[in-house]
Amino acid sequence: MFKRGQFTLHDRYISQFSPFLAIVLDETLAGVLALGCSGIIKDFFQKAPLLDKEFYLLRMGIFSHFMNLRAVYIHLGWFQISITNLIVVLSMLLLFGLALVLPFPGNNKKGGGQK
């Protein structure tokens, strides 16, 4: 079901459409690292022997690193889509569905709302 494509710059281009969640997690991780600069986390990282790659991961953010990896595709017969694009499409469908079913604040159907 899951098929990994050959790494190209095209995959990197697609990876820019990575989900918003990755950015949130990335920023959260950066925030944790910043908060830990004067605490236990800083001590841990100062004592730990860090390789260049690990230092890069910490500095740039773990999720930024994953965003630059090759794209992962779902391939079913004639249909093929990258996971990132699939997440965006499903998010839009979820947003559309929620907008239809969630009650609107202050909306009184019996009273007919405004006007």
Binding site: R12, F20, M92, L95, L98, F104, N107, G113, Q114
Partner: protein
């Protein structure tokens, strides 16, 4: 005599047409029909909000330049804000499109509203595409060299040369934003003039007719 002359003037005709079709009460309303109290009606204005962020962040990027947004922390932030504003702009616009499609929003003499919305969508895709071409990185290089084959295959490569950075950046920061801006303003004015389209069942119930 002067009244007859005044009637002939295009300024007079335009003023009277504007006052008839879009009085200030319609342009800046303080109430909306009851059916507008739904989340699905908010995605149009959410798209406008994202567009405002795109324009604001794009202006900053234009003034500061590529060497700033590639190499400074604030530049990275504004660059990312521009990118993610575009993502949410398209997400909101597509949900807005779905909502309007399924409620047949071209009803009630709103066809021009629908058409201007479609034009804004197509124009936005072109603007986003030229944005990818002027990132000044390997992505833009790769995209332009792949896209040129596509444009050449349909015979428009000489007029729309995606590898011409000067042409693409002027299209992205000058021509296309003006087009999108004008279409968006016309679209919003038409929505105000014709009113927000009602749901299909509410339309029949409240007005007793189908158009």
């Amino acid at each position: 005599m002067s009244t007859d002359v005044e009637k002939e003037m295009w300024t007079s005709k335009l003023r009277k047409s504007w006052q008839k079709n879009l009085p200030v009460e319609k342009l800046l309303p303080d109430t909306q029909p009851a059916y507008v109290a739904s989340w699905i009606y908010l995605f149009g204005v959410a798209t406008l909000a994202a567009l405002a962020l795109i324009i604001a962040s794009g202006l900053v990027l234009s003034f500061e330049g590529a060497s700033w947004y590639h190499f400074s922390r604030v530049g990275h932030f504004v660059n990312s804000m521009h990118f993610w504003s575009v993502q949410f702009f398209f997400i909101f616009m597509v949900v807005h499109l779905w909502g309007k499609f399924w409620m047949a929003a071209w009803r009630g003499r709103r066809l021009l509203t629908w058409i201007t919305g479609a034009l804004a969508f197509v124009g936005s895709i072109a603007t986003a595409f030229t944005g990818y071409l002027i990132q000044t990185n390997f992505d833009s290089q790769w995209i332009s060299y792949e896209a040129k084959d596509g444009f050449n295959s349909v015979g428009i490569g000489s007029r729309f040369n995606v590898t011409n950075f000067g042409q693409m950046i002027l299209l992205h920061v000058a021509f296309l934003p003006v087009i999108i801006g004008v279409i968006t303003i016309i679209h919003v004015l038409l929505v105000r003039a014709k009113g927000v389209v009602p749901p299909i069942d509410a339309f029949n119930k409240e007005l007793g007719e189908r158009k």
